[in-house]
Point group: C3
Chain length 312, copies 3
């Protein structure tokens, strides 16, 4: 079993077998991060470039730590302090990075499709670390890994995703992945934040969290992007919170073993109540821990695809 593509650009089109391979590989790297000596020599002498065209805390550091725990050589490259100001094209910049024998380029970019564009022109593997509002496949994979650890499976479970569906790259990747794995996905949010025709992706839609919360095995709360509030699609925060915020009152309707997730960073008291974010149902920090393991697995699977599989 091997991944079909040299890149991980999104979960659209990634098969159930491939997702299972990634999740199973994650399992073995998860164990490494639990040790006191959190390091394996797996990717010694490989070069990983973290190319972050947009600011990021957890994703960038998660990839950086993943690379170090695999003994790879990682280089960070962000927009500030670079030659972007000199007007070089994106493709020329990454071609230059590849020419330094980069094995993997991890890319966060504000423009949807930017990683896909460069992947076509590179021999190096490209891992999409978030492209605009399009996809964020490593987040969805760590979400699925976390769900599987808690519920034992993905097939047949019900995942309720709440919030700003329209502008979330996290939700898009999760839909592709969860539907492929056989989960039932219900999207919940105000009509203005739910894209027309999204049912075609195989999901159900609800405009009231209270209507569906009792069916959820997983409640995935999305971040409200405050900077956008009041501009186009979002009602007042008070109105939003009234209908969609995950409060202790609302959680009483949920199943006793329902799992609460959030991709972070969280707005405490807006989309989620601190009591829930820090409560027994929450697996938010486990998501972060599992993120390192998922990225180790992905770097392992993509960095040395040819050589490593040949050696088996």
């Amino acid at each position: 079993m091997q991944l079909k593509s040299k890149d991980l650009l999104g979960l659209e089109g990634v098969s159930r077998e491939e997702i299972n391979l990634i999740l199973d590989t994650t399992e073995s790297f998860h164990e490494v991060s639990e040790r006191s000596i959190k390091k394996v020599p797996t990717l010694r002498g490989r070069t990983i470039i973290n190319f972050f065209h947009e600011p990021s805390t957890r994703t960038r550091i998660s990839f950086e730590i993943a690379a170090k725990r695999l003994s790879a050589d990682g280089v960070n490259f962000s927009k500030s302090g670079s030659s972007f100001s000199k007007g070089e094209t994106l493709l020329d910049t990454v071609k230059n990075l590849e020419a330094m024998q980069a094995d993997v380029i991890v890319m966060r970019h504000g423009i949807p499709g930017a990683p896909h564009f460069i992947a076509q022109h590179l021999d190096a593997a490209v891992i999409n670390a978030g492209d605009g509002a399009h996809e964020h496949p490593t987040q969805a994979l760590l979400d699925m890994f976390t769900i599987k650890r808690h519920l034992g499976k993905l097939d047949g479970i019900t995942v309720v995703i709440v919030g700003d569906i329209a502008f979330s790259r996290v939700v898009r990747s999760n839909i592709y992945g969860l539907i492929t794995m056989g989960a039932r996905v219900i999207l919940v949010g105000p009509p203005t934040l739910i894209p027309v025709d999204i049912e075609k992706m195989g999901v159900e839609i609800s405009y009231k969290l209270d209507d569906v919360i009792d069916q959820a095995d997983v409640i995935m709360i999305l971040r409200i992007q405050l900077e956008r509030q009041g501009k186009v699609c979002l009602p007042s925060l008070r109105e939003y919170a009234k209908l969609y915020s995950l409060t202790p009152e609302r959680m009483k309707q949920a199943r006793p073993n329902a799992v609460v997730m959030h991709p972070g960073p969280i707005n405490r008291g807006i989309e989620i109540d601190p009591k829930i974010a820090d409560g027994d149902h929450s697996v938010i920090l486990e998501q972060v821990s599992n993120g390192v393991a998922v990225r180790m697995a992905l770097l392992f699977l993509f960095a040395g695809r040819k050589e490593l599989t040949e050696k088996r």
Copy 2:
């Protein structure tokens, strides 16, 4: 012998035995930095996060080099280019870092008490790399290590600290440490820069450097923060220099083997004359060298406290 706290938040309340343990441990790591191959495998597979919420050159790089020489995996995290702009709370940010199995979080923060606050909520060790005008314990420890190497002891020596006492985190940590170790500490500066009631910390006060310079085994010059000059507490620079600048003329009154220190960065010609900063009495660059060794010792002592002591 073992440190009492899981964190190093300040030297307030740290015992003489603990300081001796740190200084003795530093001795052995100091030797490593003198080799041509400056590296030991001590902390292989440990994760150290340098969380610098304020700009810093020497402290950040000193910790970074210390981590590398111990073979630890270090990750830098500064305010710019992070999700701080997204309104996440400080505690959520560090909880996320801890969730990636960080062993130590080194924190520089503008707000006094910030490291103490997060340390309460984390299992990871927190090392305070400077919190506002409060404490800067690693600087005081490297100062004490440097003094001990030159004078052979701390007990019974006289340390004269000159300058902006009120706003210096360096001086506060040095007072706690030096008094605990049995030194006599004389603070010197204009009345506006000496906090009321500071004698209660066990120090003496003088408003004229010329009155006490002949008693000093150590003359520690603090940095005048020029950005504050003329605003609240500082007289004109000319007036300040006349009374407090360490000039060659003034040094003639000092003991022949008095040691001159400065935490850096120095303002040449303001609080210290270049001839003194670069002269025979000065140990300013040794302080910098010793800083790496002290931080290696601290990372060693705090990174793997449980496991390492169990293995003994």
Copy 3:
């Protein structure tokens, strides 16, 4: 055979034997970057500081990757986020870095001569990574290495350098190096961009690329610094491109095996046509690859000069 200087500040005054030593050493490190495990233990435990006072993408990352592939401990230090804002002198900053037992300081600085100034005051080796419009010796060395791999020699070949001669540090270092190695150098550009008296460096001058292109074994295109356009010395871009841009039409006059180079970042469609930049004559990306190998060789030769040669 050993290098004469403890530093690489420029190629002015560097002998043919020394350049040959560097190029021969590069050959062996070039091979390392071609492996799947691109890592050797050569500089384990050495400390390399990348001190970039000006933004840079490829040079900084190239040095960073070179250091990692040699197993050295590298630390990045850029202007932003540092104590420069606190008014410390450049010399004090680098003296501090040296005090942390840095073996090599790689410096990019906007002021010509800055690396030379600090090198005089340090025991650590200083490698100039570009000082203003003065020199950029590592770029010239990677250019010469690339030429030699393609043409088999430097002696007797003709190199045509086109563009902004006056403000290019790349061209200055290349002239010193190429003339020393016995190459013929023809500078081409508008009169306003060619410094008076530059013939004294041993080069020829032409104001029309079409007049000399057929003599070139190597056509080295310089970057037009757009930010300067229309200000002092540069005619309109259209006029410039008409006479100096390397277009497919113009390339028809070149020798069939002529090699096209550019130090990057390129302005596609201005100084060079995309068809040429990506075409068969172009070795632009090989220059980038070879840059890592050259910098590995230089770090090797300068990092451990004393000890390594003693051990032979």
